[in-house]
Symmetry: C2
Subunit: 177 residues, 2 copies
């Protein structure tokens, strides 16, 4: 069901700005958090930046393990995405609590999320902005997408539990990659 996705296409998943899940594995514990503060930095190899607050349980795991998976949920997971964001891995095994299925990744210890239509295995390649900004630079080293799902409607966070869902798609004559 999860097929390899060409790394050259990764930016097409993240550039639209969807809410994503970030998974980590540290000291034998897998965790997952909700994240919206991310952006692409390079097409290929795909690199992105994300801000993970030092207050998040995932922060220490990400900094120590230098690996994560960014999983892209469709709108059908919106309620789960909010539940994941409403609690901390300090207190809860979120995979078990919210019915998310961890799958082994190929290149990192952090798990893929079976319910998400795309999963991006990432390595932390620059931590120099972590102390000042909680900003991690990631390289996507392996990408997976659910070949069964063609149209992928994602959600975008507008603050305080308000989300906008992907609507119509339009095509315009653009020279922009």
């Amino acid at each position: 069901m999860m097929k390899q996705l060409a790394l050259s296409r990764v930016y097409q998943l993240l550039e639209p700005g969807p809410v994503v899940l970030l998974t980590t594995a540290h000291k034998g514990c897998a965790n997952v958090m909700t994240m919206s503060w991310h952006m692409m930095m390079e097409f290929e190899p795909p690199m992105l930046a994300c801000v993970v607050s030092a207050g998040n349980h995932s922060f220490a795991a990400l900094r120590a393990s230098r690996q994560c998976v960014i999983a892209v949920p469709g709108v059908e997971l919106a309620a789960t995405v909010v539940k994941v964001g409403n609690c901390s891995g300090r207190d809860v095994d979120k995979f078990a609590a919210f019915g998310l299925t961890p799958l082994p990744a190929r290149r990192v210890a952090a798990p893929l999320v079976a319910e998400c239509f795309a999963n991006l295995e990432c390595r932390v390649v620059d931590t120099r902005m972590v102390k000042r900004y909680n900003l991690f630079v990631l390289e996507v080293v392996q990408a997976w997408a659910d070949s069964a799902r063609k149209r992928r409607r994602t959600i975008h966070h507008c603050g305080y539990g308000r989300f906008v869902v992907d609507g119509e798609a339009i095509r315009l004559r653009s020279k922009m990659r």
Copy 2:
């Protein structure tokens, strides 16, 4: 028509990941580019990161002037946004060529874009990641929003001229700001 927007609400405009316009003013010339690689870094004062390729005409202006405006276009400007992205300020006065109206900003030399429903006056506060990543850290020092337009449908770039337009809005019980 453009009313001041509380700086505490700026993230609600950018966190959903819309395509934006970035304006600069340098040596008496105003320019505008299309940008999707941006993310919030802090709620308040609102700080964001953006990647502006060194190949863009705006790059030198942004680095030298350390100021810009990020203008948020609604879907009705989609065709104009693509035209802006398809050419360079080296060759074209894009404001004149594409019927965009520059308005004086309050705190920066770069112009607001009258046709956009929100305009964010920004100062460059950190250039340490410019050389390596073309990454600028911006602080929003003044924000404006069109009080006349309630529902604001933005566009999100999926690559090669494909855009997804904001669809339905949903509300969920979230503890996330």
